[in-house]
Subunit: 363 residues, 2 copies
């Protein structure tokens, strides 16, 4: 499998066309939308041929696509363990296999997250040196976009795993945003070095000592995410999941209140009409479709999870993200950096230990 | 010290008049504002007499107040340990002493949070049976207001502490909102019983088994907070602090974008003018002043922390909250419930253990 393709025409994306609340038509429309916006790639659609073939035939710009029939679908309620044992004939399994066998450089699915993660780990395996996967989220901020990870792959993370998340998040942001030195922060309850969990403090020390190349900015707090204080916010999956869902809930509540205030009186409605262009821009800015697509970092392949509730525009965002990552040496970079940082950490430790021995002997 | 006063005229509140970004005038104005809105209480103002006396003399409705001179102020940068050793002459220390000695039923301060917590624990001690304090936050929701705790007193909490937080939060909500059976949820990453940390799962089991009186709704997720799915959301101080700050950050970002869209063009400005009443209501709804006041639950007295950046309206909210709690048998209720739940838990454990022994003997 190669991940360093630079020839734009050579990109192949495996699309799990089944699953998601809006069904296969939103998936195919989403891919067509991405193509209409300039994406050049070949697509392999996995799913029920009878349903997908007519959709692809109707869509514009998907002439070079292939349809691969799958007998079965992973249901949203299926347990990952069940899918691993009995899911060989599902669209999700077959799409993942295309990446495993090097036929495609990335897979995009809007199906069951747990099953997709289990299949990714089973078929693609982890990048060497990475203990656990992490799921990313793109967060709109005052400065642009920030990547937050992990938002739910694991409920706990130790210091070594947080360091690996930081390295993966940095490489991810670099590939996505073409920023040479993304800034990285660890999510904590206070900016001072003394606050927060022991695990987070140790992770900060390792990053400072063993990854001098990284633009590591230390600790950030919850409100720093929307401020865009750093490009990459690193946290464990429990905290990250709660942070993102809490912010989504708050945004939805404000949206509802705003709508109430826009439609409360006839004057307000007229006012809203006059403000229409500004409000449209506001809506676009907070549109979750624009930031759709969680990437499973740490597995040895590019796997993008589109939100189950995403529409065609949302699916298009996920497909574009997959293509961008597939075109860059993203996986190799993660593997190399993790390797270098962990080696440096080991040698620093040894140096500290031998220094301690010398001090002890001298006393 | 009594906490079961029901005679409204008998309430005495200790006000730490120093500290806070807006200074003593915002504090005194805030108290006067609360009085103008119907609050009946006597106030003891602690701080620099030369500054406070003229402010109180000028304010309306504060005629019965007393001013207690304090030589010193706790600075925002003072370490709690320093204040404990050398802070006996500060306004914060003396205000806390008034509660300790039963002269006042509650204290309100907008000073250094860490120092206030340390003084509360030192002078008031913990409620018997409660291991650690928790700080509350009031969160505006689609249904009204939800209490979230802990939002930052401790970075970690074990299952027993989470159970105590749930009991304290329930009693707090009942006192504040006069709701007989507040609903309670544990913040987690998934609503299913199998997800999340072991600690949270155990806390849920204890609450179900040992507190049958509580309207415990199991697990809630981040977006449930703003939905108002439950009245009381229980979590550890690390997660709670990140949740609240993340939501504040997201709300601020949306507010900024909305402002951009309201002032972008002349049409938009005209529209905003027509919408003014609705927008005013929107602003009131998201106004942090209306929800200002974090209560230190678990200490044996009522301690309300006003936000350092609060204006007079914000301080008034904190003062009203202190008075409402002081009028209700809040502390006794916490002590009794914690005692009953922990006793029931112990007897359940014993029953389970002896059952296990019988089963083992029978085999």
């Amino acid at each position: 499998m190669t991940n360093t393709l630079t020839d734009k025409r050579a990109i192949v994306l495996a699309i799990d066309a089944m699953g998601g609340d809006a069904g296969p038509s939103a998936v195919v429309d989403g891919v067509a939308h991405a193509v209409s916006k300039g994406l050049r790639a070949k697509f392999l659609f996995f799913g029920d041929e009878k349903i997908i073939a007519p959709l692809v035939a109707e869509a514009k710009g998907l002439e070079g696509s292939e349809i691969r029939h799958a007998e079965n679908i992973v249901q949203m309620t299926d347990k990952p363990s069940h899918v691993i044992r009995r899911g060989r004939d599902t669209s999700m399994w077959l799409a993942m296999t295309a990446v495993k066998e090097g036929e495609a450089q990335a897979v995009v699915s809007c199906g069951n997250t747990g099953a997709l993660m289990a299949l990714a780990r089973l078929q693609l395996r982890m990048i060497e040196g990475v203990d656990r996967p992490a799921i990313t989220a793109l967060w709109p901020t005052q400065r642009g976009k920030t990547v937050v990870l992990d938002v739910g792959a694991n409920v706990e993370a130790d210091e070594k795993q947080l360091v690996q998340f930081a390295i993966m998040g940095e490489a991810f942001y670099r590939s996505l945003a073409k920023v040479d030195k993304p800034t990285v922060g660890l999510l904590n309850v206070g900016a001072e070095d003394l606050k927060g969990h022991e695990i987070i403090r140790t992770a900060a020390r390792i990053l400072r000592e063993a990854d001098p190349e990284m633009a590591f900015k230390g600790f950030v707090e919850g409100d720093d995410i929307s401020k865009g204080s750093v490009d990459v916010v690193v946290t464990d999956g429990f905290t990250g999941n709660i942070a993102i869902k809490t912010a989504e809930g708050a945004a939805r509540l404000l949206g509802k209140w705003l709508k109430d205030s826009l439609t409360g009186t006839w004057n307000a409605r007229l006012g809203a009409l006059l403000m229409a262009p500004g409000l449209r821009k506001f809506k676009e800015r907070i549109d979750p479709s624009a930031n759709n697509g969680g990437v499973f970092l740490g597995v040895n392949g590019i796997v993008v999870k589109s939100h189950g509730g995403a529409d065609a525009y949302g699916f298009a965002s996920a497909v574009k993200m997959a293509a961008r990552l597939a075109r860059r040496p993203f996986l190799d970079e993660v593997a190399e950096t993790v390797d270098a940082v962990m080696a440096r950490r080991r040698s620093l430790r040894k140096a500290q230990e031998s220094e301690a021995k010398i001090t002890a002997a001298a006393q």
